[in-house]
């Protein structure tokens, strides 16, 4: 194959990392490409990108697929590690890839504090509403009533609205899309990377094997059509009642505000610390 025939994003892909190990039709692949497109279109210096991945299928988006500095850490903790990376070298672009379980169950504490701190870490949260990697256990985002491997009688619990959680924690950029909305997803990822502060981009993503199957939509194409059909833009959702919104995915940019970013505050502190006596 001549150089002209290489995929336009092939420079960002680690040698030998293709084909990646996601299932056929997995939304993770769409998110991976959307991110690489974002990098490509913004033109970020690859040397400056650090991807921090949690444990779960979402962790395999950057690891080993992306040819950038990659830190694949322990379950639930990428945001904590990423905080250290960002404060260690503030001019790096630090992006976390995490799943719904990784970010809101075991990692919930780190998520809310990163949002609160407004540390300039960008969190791409892949929400497939299930624990896919371990075979399909119920997650904090699984809707009530769904039968999973560990809720054989139906899930008794209410799910999180992850974006709402991060908004409540003070997230200064919070957006949610689905893998159907690739153009909007790339636009949000660009905003997330370009801005200084914290960013949370939630992406509803199809897991046909472990979630789709349990809701009778075992085909990735069908799941994406389901996302399309069930998505409601936030502007329209504001006019709708709770009942009308039941089972729907509210998508869009929820918060986009400016606030002092933590590593910048430290830089300022370094200047003033020697002047203060304590």
């Amino acid at each position: 194959m001549s150089a002209q025939m290489a995929h336009p994003l092939s420079n960002y892909i680690r040698k030998g990392a293709q084909p990646h190990t996601h299932c056929s039709g997995c939304g993770n692949g769409i998110i991976a490409q959307s991110f690489l497109r974002t990098l490509h279109e913004i033109g970020i210096d690859r040397k400056k990108i650090v991807c921090v991945a949690g444990i779960g299928c979402s962790g395999w988006i950057p690891s080993p697929f992306f040819d950038v500095d990659t830190l694949h850490v322990t379950h639930g903790r990428p945001i904590a590690f990423a905080t250290g990376v960002k404060l260690g070298k503030p001019d790096l672009e630090v992006v976390v890839f995490t799943g719904d379980g990784d970010a809101s169950a075991i990692g919930g504490n780190h998520l809310i504090h990163a949002a609160r701190r407004n540390i300039g870490v960008k969190v791409i949260c892949v929400n497939n509403m299930i624990y896919g990697m371990t075979g399909g256990e119920v997650a904090p985002t699984t809707p009530r009533g769904i039968r999973t491997t560990t809720t054989p009688f139906g899930n008794l619990e209410r799910p999180f609205d992850l974006s709402k959680l991060v908004i409540a924690a003070g997230g200064t950029y919070v957006a949610r899309w689905t893998t159907y909305h690739v153009a909007r997803l790339v636009a949000s990822m660009k905003k997330a990377l370009v801005r200084k502060g914290f960013a949370f981009v939630e992406v509803l993503s199809q897991c046909p094997v472990h979630y789709g199957r349990r809701i009778g939509i075992s085909n990735p194409v069908e799941m994406m059509r389901w996302f399309q059909k069930q998505s409601v833009p936030v502007e329209r959702a504001r006019e709708m009642s709770e009942q009308e919104l039941a089972g729907k995915f509210v998508v869009g940019e929820f918060v986009n505000i400016d606030a002092p970013e933590l590593s910048q505050l430290y830089a300022e502190l370094f200047e003033t610390a020697n002047r203060e006596s304590n």
Binding site: P19, G27, Q33, R37, R225
Partner: protein
């Protein structure tokens, strides 16, 4: 680099395709179909029905989870 007159070429990298069918479903021009021949990987990669009808919208390219299909040339290209 782009040429408005150039005919887009759809490149399918069979070895990377997992046969998910997403590109076939979402092509607005409906010019992709399930291939008739099984690839080395044991899936049916897409085949182009009529390349002349490709508008280079790149929906197949942007949706492909495996980066196994992309469009070269055509009227719309992403900035390089």
């Amino acid at each position: 680099m782009t040429s408005a007159i150039e005919t887009p070429k759809i490149v399918i990298v069979e070895d990377l395709c997992k046969g998910c069918g997403i590109c076939i479903e979402f092509c607005p021009a409906k010019i992709l179909k399930v291939g008739s021949r099984m690839t080395k990987k044991g899936v049916f990669a897409p085949e182009v029905i009529d390349p002349s009808k490709c508008t280079a919208c790149r929906i197949c390219q942007y949706y492909c989870p495996d980066l196994a299909i992309f469009v070269v040339g055509g009227s719309k290209v992403s900035r390089s």
